[in-house]
C-alpha cells in the first residue's frame, strides 16, 4: 500500500505533494464546468499525451489500467445516453469521468503515500484556526494507518476460528466480536498514549 502504485519513476516524482494536490483539485474542479464533448475529449487526449511525456509508454499503460474500475459505469453511461439519443451529453460525461480519474491518478501514481501523509500532518498545523488540535490529527493519522493491517489480521483470525467451529463461513457473523475488539483496543491504546504523555494541548 505504501509505495507508488506504479513503481515506475516519473518526472513528476520530485514535485511536492502540496503542489500536486492543488493542481489535481483545481483541474478536476474545472472539468465539471465543461459541457462541450469535443473540448472534453481534447482534454482526455491531452492527458494521454501528458502521461506519455511524464513516464513513457509503460506509465501510460499503468495509467490506463487504473481506469479499469470505471468500466462498469462507463457502460451504463453509454447505454443510457444511446437510449436517450443524447450522445453529446454521454460523450461529455464519459470523458469527464475518465479525465477525472486520469488527473487524480497522475497525482497518486507519482506520489509516495508516505509523503502524502507527511504533507497532511504538516498542513494540519493550519487547522489550529478552526479549533482543531494538529497534534491530535497527526496521531490520529498514524493510528489509522497502523490499525488497518491489525484489523485485517484480526478479521482473518476470527473467520479462521469460526471455520473451526462451523461449516458456515460468513463475514457477518464475526462483525460483533470484531466491533467489540475495536472498542477494547480503544481503551488500551488510549492508555498507552497517555502513558507516553498523551496529546499536546493546542496551546502548547
Amino acid at each position: 500500500m505504501f509505495t507508488n502504485v506504479s513503481s515506475l519513476e516519473t518526472r513528476l516524482d520530485k514535485i511536492s505533494v502540496q503542489r500536486k494536490i492543488i493542481f489535481t483539485c483545481s483541474a478536476a474542479a474545472i472539468l465539471f464546468f465543461i459541457k462541450n464533448p469535443i473540448v472534453m475529449f481534447s482534454i482526455f487526449a491531452a492527458l494521454l499525451i501528458i502521461y506519455f511525456s511524464v513516464g513513457g509508454f509503460k506509465f501510460l499503460w499503468v495509467g490506463l489500467y487504473q481506469l479499469k474500475v470505471t468500466i462498469p459505469f462507463i457502460i451504463i453511461l453509454a447505454f443510457w445516453h444511446l437510449y436517450l439519443d443524447q450522445l453529446d451529453r454521454g460523450v461529455t460525461l464519459i470523458f469527464r469521468l475518465i479525465s477525472a480519474f486520469l488527473i487524480a491518478n497522475l497525482f497518486i501514481l507519482t506520489s509516495k503515500i508516505h509523503d502524502i501523509i507527511l504533507a497532511i500532518q504538516k498542513y494540519s498545523f493550519y487547522l489550529k484556526n478552526f479549533g482543531i488540535n494538529p497534534h491530535a490529527v497527526s496521531i490520529t493519522i498514524g493510528l489509522f494507518i497502523r490499525s488497518i493491517p491489525i484489523l485485517k489480521q484480526r478479521a482473518k483470525n476470527l473467520m479462521l476460528a469460526q471455520s473451526a467451529r462451523s461449516t458456515k463461513r460468513s463475514f457477518w457473523r464475526i462483525s460483533v466480536p470484531l466491533a467489540i475488539s475495536v472498542l477494547d483496543d480503544a481503551d488500551h491504546v488510549s492508555e498507552a498514549l497517555r502513558a507516553r504523555g498523551g496529546i499536546r494541548k493546542k496551546e502548547d
Binding site: A136, L143, A186, D187
Partner: protein
C-alpha cells in the same frame, strides 16, 4: 479525554476501510454492494454524532486524497466524477445524523433506537446526496437515478438489520461503549 476520541476516530475509520475489503457484490451499475456503509452506520450508532461524523469525515478525506480505501481499492478525486460520488460525500452526514438520532432516542429500547437511526441516517439521509451525485455524473433524471439507486436498497436494509444486531450486542457486552447513549 482527547486521547480516547482520537483513538476511537482512528480505529473506526480503519474499521470502515477494512470493511471495504470484504468481498463485494459487484453490480452492473458500477457501485458494488459493499460492507462499507455498514461501518458508516456503526460510527453513528456506537460513537454518536460528533465522533462518528468525524471518523467518517476523516475516512472520506483520506480516500479523496488518494489512499485506496474505498471498496475495490479505489481512491482519489476521480471518485467524485463516478457513480458513488454522492454516497461518498454523504457518508459523514449519514454518520452524523445516525448518531444524532441515537442520542435523541436514548431512552427508547435500543433495537428501535438503532433501527430508526440507521434507516433515517444510513438510508434516507445518505441516498439524497447519492441520488444527486448519480444525476449529475450519469446525466440521469431523478426518476432514472432512483431506479439506478434502488438496487442497493435491499442490501442496505440488510445492513440496518446487521447494525441493529451488532450495536445491541455491544450494548449488552459493553454498555459504556455505546457513546451515543451515554
Amino acid at each position: 479525554m482527547i486521547e480516547k476520541t482520537s483513538v476511537l476516530i482512528a480505529l473506526f475509520a480503519a474499521l470502515i476501510a477494512v470493511l471495504g475489503l470484504v468481498p463485494a457484490f459487484p453490480l452492473a451499475s458500477g457501485v458494488p454492494i459493499t460492507a462499507q456503509s455498514l461501518g458508516v452506520m456503526l460510527c453513528g450508532t456506537v460513537l454518536g454524532s460528533k465522533k462518528g461524523g468525524l471518523a467518517t469525515l476523516f475516512f472520506v478525506i483520506l480516500t479523496l486524497l488518494g489512499l485506496p480505501l474505498l471498496a475495490g481499492g479505489r481512491g482519489g478525486v476521480g471518485l467524485l466524477a463516478g457513480a458513488s460520488a454522492g454516497f461518498i460525500i454523504g457518508f459523514p452526514m449519514a454518520a452524523f445524523i445516525t448518531g444524532w438520532l441515537m442520542e435523541k432516542t436514548s431512552s427508547v429500547d435500543i433495537h428501535i433506537s438503532v433501527s430508526l437511526s440507521s434507516i433515517v441516517g444510513g438510508i434516507v439521509v445518505l441516498y439524497i446526496p447519492g441520488l444527486i451525485g448519480m444525476m449529475i455524473n450519469a446525466g440521469m433524471s431523478l426518476n432514472a437515478a432512483i431506479v439506478a439507486v434502488a438496487v442497493y436498497l435491499p442490501g442496505d436494509i440488510l445492513k440496518v438489520i446487521l447494525v441493529t444486531i451488532v450495536t445491541s450486542a455491544i450494548f449488552k457486552a459493553r454498555p459504556n461503549s455505546i457513546f451515543a447513549r451515554s
